[in-house]
């Protein structure tokens, strides 16, 4: 999944979508994952990234990432693939 190129992400968890004019707030984990997505990292590797960065097991990381990606998609923050 890719994040739209024109999405603005601030370090303190503020997102702006110029396409829709919507603003969002995200937490620290959300920012870190979004940054990975922007860098083109694949989902499987993001799970490994999460496990390396935080105290979390693989299944929980996968479940949370799936949920997060579905929310990004529903807010139209992702590119059509």
């Amino acid at each position: 999944m890719k994040i739209r190129k024109n999405i603005a992400i601030s370090e303190n968890g503020f997102i702006f979508n110029p396409l829709t004019g919507d603003s969002f707030s995200i937490n620290e984990t959300g920012v870190a994952i979004l940054q990975q997505l922007k860098d083109g990292v694949k989902s499987e590797d993001i799970v490994i990234f999460m496990m390396n960065e935080y105290e979390i097991d693989k299944h929980s990381a996968e479940k949370d990432l799936t949920d997060y990606l579905s929310m990004l998609k529903s807010y139209q923050l992702t590119e059509n693939e």
Partner: protein, 448 residues
């Protein structure tokens, strides 16, 4: 050491939009109850778990008693068994000086089992059999007559009992200016039914009318209704005195005082709108004091307060089983606390706090229980910090009615602990097992 993990979270910002469900209310986790760590309680006694604070019960009781006693010389609380009849809870109230108020043979026997002398038991309720009445008469209990059938049954019974009188009161229902009017208990005041019952009792040698009782409603949001009720009971007491020359010994104002829980559909939080003990006491005692009783004939004021004395002493602790998304992308959280054990979630928006640290992020979630039933919803909408599987939650003010109205349904009822005055938890009701349920079942021989 790796940083604390919080599930990734994104929330659309709607500047200027009001949230009809209200904003976030929990800012600090509830990690302790009476200085006992919540996590430790759950490790030892399991999840879900009911926790009762003995300290809170005693403090609330003493506060309520003081509030009435500073205004009126003769006050007596009678613990409403149906509100919470766990033996340990009842015994705390009895130790504090409370009588027992019961509404069935089962509750009556529980009060006796808890060491309450028969003459300090108030026997209410519409269902008293001849045997129940016989027992109550023998023990000198206060029998609160609910209907004419009961009155005539008691008259018949007393014809067979020698050398005993029955100590009775009538239950009176009335218009106190609130809706809905509770008119199913007792005899109606306005129609003259209550006075007819009194007249009938006066004519009986073996019935001694000691008191007048009312139970005007539940969760009464206006203290003034009690002033109206007290006035009407005083009028009846005066009529009785005019007719017999005897005075009524007690007025029992029943229950119905609010706890600070928030009713569903209420715009404001319960704590902001419910009357205080002072408000109720002022309304009731002013009315009786100003009615014109002679100082030596002031009736004893009995109160059957249940909810307002126990609700804030009870908690239920639970664990998050799962989080998921609903079809409209709303967050849903599933906990192990079901409506079968938290009956009051049908009419309250209970306050719910996380029991571990959290960040400033919060999201709106539907909070469900573990039952495979669509009705198993604790909160349709609540703004909570981000929760994940395994996190603990604390539901507040669950001391009233849950531990009596709970159901063994789909799953078993959990442990109940009481934290004593020194901060030591005691198991006061064991969780159920399969044996608890099947021991009363009988399988016919051909199915064995």
């Amino acid at each position: 050491m790796k940083p604390h993990y919080e599930s990734p979270f994104i929330q659309k910002l709607n500047a200027g939009m009001l949230n009809k469900f209200g904003s976030r209310t929990e800012y600090i986790p509830v990690k302790h109850i009476d200085n006992v760590p919540v996590a430790e309680l759950m490790d030892t006694f399991g999840s879900p778990l009911f926790v009762i604070s003995e300290k809170t019960i005693r403090q609330t009781y003493q506060k309520a008693l003081k509030t009435f006693k500073m205004r009126y010389p003769k006050v007596q609380f009678a613990w409403s068994y149906k509100t919470n009849y766990l033996d340990a809870v009842c015994r705390v109230f009895h130790q504090e000086g409370s009588w027992a108020e019961v509404v069935s043979r089962f509750e009556y026997e529980k009060a006796i089992h808890n060491g309450v002398p028969g003459n300090l038991i108030v026997f209410n309720g519409p269902d008293k059999s001849k045997e129940d009445l016989k027992l109550a008469v023998a023990n000198g209990s206060l029998i609160h007559i609910d209907h004419f059938d009961e009155l005539y049954m008691l008259i018949e019974l007393m014809e067979q009992i020698k050398d005993k009188t029955a100590r009775v009161a009538i239950r009176v229902n009335m218009d106190t200016g609130v809706y809905p009017q509770w008119d199913r208990f007792g005899f109606n005041y306005e129609s003259g039914q209550a006075y007819n019952a009194i007249t009938k009792i006066i004519a009986q040698e073996k019935l001694q009318l000691e008191g007048l009782h009312c139970h005007i409603g539940t969760y009464m949001l206006t203290a003034n209704a009690y002033a109206v009720a007290a006035r009407k009971l005083c009028e009846l007491a005066a009529s009785f005195q005019n007719a017999t020359g005897n005075s009524i010994k007690y007025l029992d104002m029943g229950g119905g005082f609010c706890s600070s829980n928030t009713l569903k559909g209420s715009y404001l939080q319960g704590i902001d709108i419910v009357p205080t003990f002072d408000d109720y006491a002022e309304a009731i005692t002013n009315t009786i004091l100003q009615f014109g009783f002679k100082p030596n004939e002031l009736p004893l004021l009995i109160l059957e307060t249940g909810r307002a004395l126990i609700d804030n002493a009870g908690y239920v602790l639970g664990t998050v089983l799962a989080t998921k998304r609903l079809s409209n992308n709303r967050r849903a959280t599933i906990s192990d606390i079901g409506v079968n054990i938290l009956f009051t979630s049908f009419w309250y928006n209970h306050r719910i706090s996380p029991a571990q640290d959290f960040t400033h992020h919060a999201e709106e979630t539907a909070l469900y229980g573990p039952l495979c039933m669509n009705i198993d919803c604790l909160r349709e909408s609540i703004v909570l910090p981000l929760l994940k599987k395994g996190d603990h939650i604390v539901v507040h003010e669950v001391g009233a009615y849950n531990m009596t109205q709970w159901m063994q349904f789909i799953t078993l009822r959990p442990n109940v602990v009481m934290i004593d005055m020194n901060g030591k938890p005691h198991l006061i009701r064991k969780s159920e097992t399969l044996d608890t349920i099947v021991e009363n079942e009988i399988v016919p021989e051909h199915l064995l």
